[in-house]
């Protein structure tokens, strides 16, 4: 069974509301979290001067968040939406961990 965001499609009004609330929370906090991790990762790894990398990554961060939010509300189910955010966040988080570990050491 999939949980669509259409009131008439769900079995009950209450369930529809819970699904909307869950997607909204996932969009806000998940979308922001993914964008934040991506911004930090890109700022450390883009092959530019560090101030340039920070400026580029910060400029792009809101497009990343917008894309994440659109994804959360268009995914077929809440689970798919969450996985779609978690996978890139995990990959970027691992990259960020490596980048933070190697920062300060000679390249």
């Amino acid at each position: 069974m999939t949980d669509t965001i259409k009131p008439s499609a769900g079995p009950s009004r209450g369930r529809y509301r819970v699904m909307v609330a869950a997607r909204t929370l996932l969009a806000i906090f998940g979308g922001y979290g993914l964008a934040a991790i991506a911004t930090a990762f890109l700022s450390l790894t883009l092959p530019l001067d560090r101030s340039e990398a920070v400026a580029s990554a910060t400029l792009a961060s809101f497009a990343i968040m917008a894309g994440a939010v659109i994804w959360v509300f268009s995914a077929r189910s809440l689970g798919r939406a969450a996985i779609g955010l978690a996978l890139p966040a995990l990959c970027l988080g691992a990259g960020l961990w490596l980048a933070l570990g190697s920062a300060g050491q000679p390249a």
Partner: protein, 506 residues
């Protein structure tokens, strides 16, 4: 049951637009007014007359003299130069990096605090635009969250809009109420769509390092001021030495800086004033171009030697500052400024018509009592769309009617702005829907018409206020036309409403 991408985007557009609409309407209205911030400030300080040119060296010295007495322990002083559109010396000081900025406005002729009435002027709307007159940290996050939601509403609106090009030329005025509102929403939304997208994204970028500091934090790790210096936006902060020293005279430093930069001097800042390691920074106006970038030259305040100059911006920093510059439109001359202003107005109308469309599409049929949610949206719609203009007109009237020597009169102006807005939002609750719209629109028209009249009666007729007066009269006319339109409206035509597309009700 599967749902298409477009349906889910239509749903997202409707609800993202609704929950964010009221705040963003207020943000758009006050932001649009801010394109004429200096004109509003001039009108609100009728005691002042602008001169064509000012002696900037003398202005800087007068500012320093004032700050030496009133802010001797500050970590930094900032002296804004008087200009033709802002004929006052701005003396600002900062005691701690996160503390409040102190402010005094000085007469450029005498250096004494200005005799002009105490008012926040156009800065009131400017600050409201991104802080809602709340504590900065709270207001900025609320505006940022709403702006991000609006960005989502814009993107999902574009996806929803399957016939974007055809609807560009479609305005079915007479077909049905809902169709008309939908077309008004589409026309104003689509016609100025590049502006809406640009202004929303660049607005978020303007405060991006507050909203999304994680790139800067992970790279600069506690030394974030370095980012601004390395990207060429400002000179480096030089720490105090802790020993006092007599500074070199300011005049020669300013003249040497002016010899290097062709733009007018905008501000002089003195970091760690009185210290042996004090710095004087000459900040110039933006050179021709989009970027929000002010050339800076830093001097050792004691020896007078140049210690640093901001270099040219690198590409990403240039893009970044151009985003901010596009939002603020400092580069825009009179013609382009009108275009920005009109685009901003279209944004206001797009948001307002979207909000009204939500209620029209869900209007209760026949004698059914509307649900609480519908009545709430309806009340918030009228309270925002007409309440805010009523508040703004009252704010201008208060500027002329509150006694000049009243204590804290600038706070009273703000109190009247919010008080009349609140009244304009509450009164309609006691009235039937259609009368409420019509009466409040006439009230707004009357108040806007009263602004130039009260202005003439209290401070006399002035040619340099002609533009402001004309704008107030034009706004009054817009509200009269709106009120008449509501008066002729014949109530929901159910047949037509039922036949209209899925967008409005999705």
């Amino acid at each position: 049951m599967k749902q298409g991408f477009r349906q889910s985007m239509a749903w997202l557009h409707t609800w993202a637009g609704l929950v964010t609409g009221w705040v963003m309407f207020a943000v758009f209205v006050t932001g649009t007014a801010t394109y004429y911030k200096t004109d509003i400030s001039l009108w609100m300080r009728p005691e002042l007359r602008a001169e064509a040119e000012y002696d900037v060296v003398r202005a800087a010295e007068l500012g320093v003299a004032h700050l030496k007495v009133h802010a001797p322990k500050a970590m930094a002083w900032f002296i804004g130069m008087p200009q033709a559109d802002n004929p006052l010396i701005g003396a600002y000081w900062m005691d701690t990096p996160d503390g409040e900025i102190g402010k005094a406005l000085l007469d450029p002729a005498t250096g004494a605090p200005t005799v002009a009435r105490a008012t926040k002027g156009g800065d009131f709307f400017y600050r409201f635009h991104y802080e809602l007159q709340m504590p900065p940290a709270v207001g900025r996050w609320i505006v940022g969250l709403c702006a991000m939601t609006l960005l989502i509403a814009l993107i999902s609106g574009i996806v929803t809009h399957r016939r974007i090009f055809a609807d560009f030329f479609t305005f079915r005025r007479s077909k049905s109420a809902q169709r008309g509102w939908l077309d008004a929403h589409n026309v104003t939304g689509v016609l100025a769509l590049p502006f809406h997208l640009m202004i929303t994204y660049t607005g978020i970028v303007s405060l991006s390092l507050m909203y999304m500091p994680w790139g800067m934090v992970s790279v600069y790790k506690g030394d974030e001021l370095r980012f601004y210096a390395e990207s060429g936006q400002m000179t480096t902060w030089r720490a105090a030495e802790g020993k006092p020293a007599e500074p070199a005279p300011l005049g020669p430093l300013i003249r040497r800086a002016q010899a290097e930069v062709s733009e007018p001097l905008e501000m002089v800042s003195i970091n760690n004033p009185g210290d042996a390691n004090a710095t004087v920074v000459a900040v110039f106006e933006e050179p021709h171009g989009l970027a929000h970038r002010h050339p800076q030259i830093a001097f050792n305040a004691v020896t007078g030697e140049i210690v640093e100059r901001t270099g040219p911006l690198k590409p990403a920093a240039h893009a970044y500052t151009s985003f901010v510059g596009l939002h603020e439109a400092h580069f825009a001359g009179p013609a382009l400024r009108i275009l920005f202003f009109l685009s901003g107005l279209m944004g206001c109308i797009a948001i307002a018509s979207g909000l009204v469309l939500w209620t029209v599409a869900r209007a209760p049929k026949g004698m059914v009592r509307p649900a609480f949610g519908w009545r709430l949206v309806h009340a918030l719609n009228i309270g925002t769309i007409l309440g805010l203009p009523v508040g703004m007109a009252s704010f201008f009237l208060a500027n002329r009617l509150i006694p000049v020597d009243l204590a804290a009169r600038d706070s009273w102006e703000g109190a009247i702005f919010f008080g009349s807005w609140l009244a304009a939002a509450l009164i309609p609750l006691a009235r039937p829907h259609r009368q409420a719209w019509r009466e409040m629109a006439y009230a707004a028209a009357l108040l806007f018409l009263a602004v130039p009249l009260v202005g003439w009666a209290t401070t006399g007729w002035r040619t340099d206020f002609l533009g402001f007066d004309a704008a107030m009269a034009a706004l009054a006319l817009v509200f009269v036309l709106g009120a008449r339109k509501v008066g002729r409206y014949e109530g929901p035509r159910r047949e037509a409403a039922r036949a209209t597309g899925d967008l409005a009700r999705a």
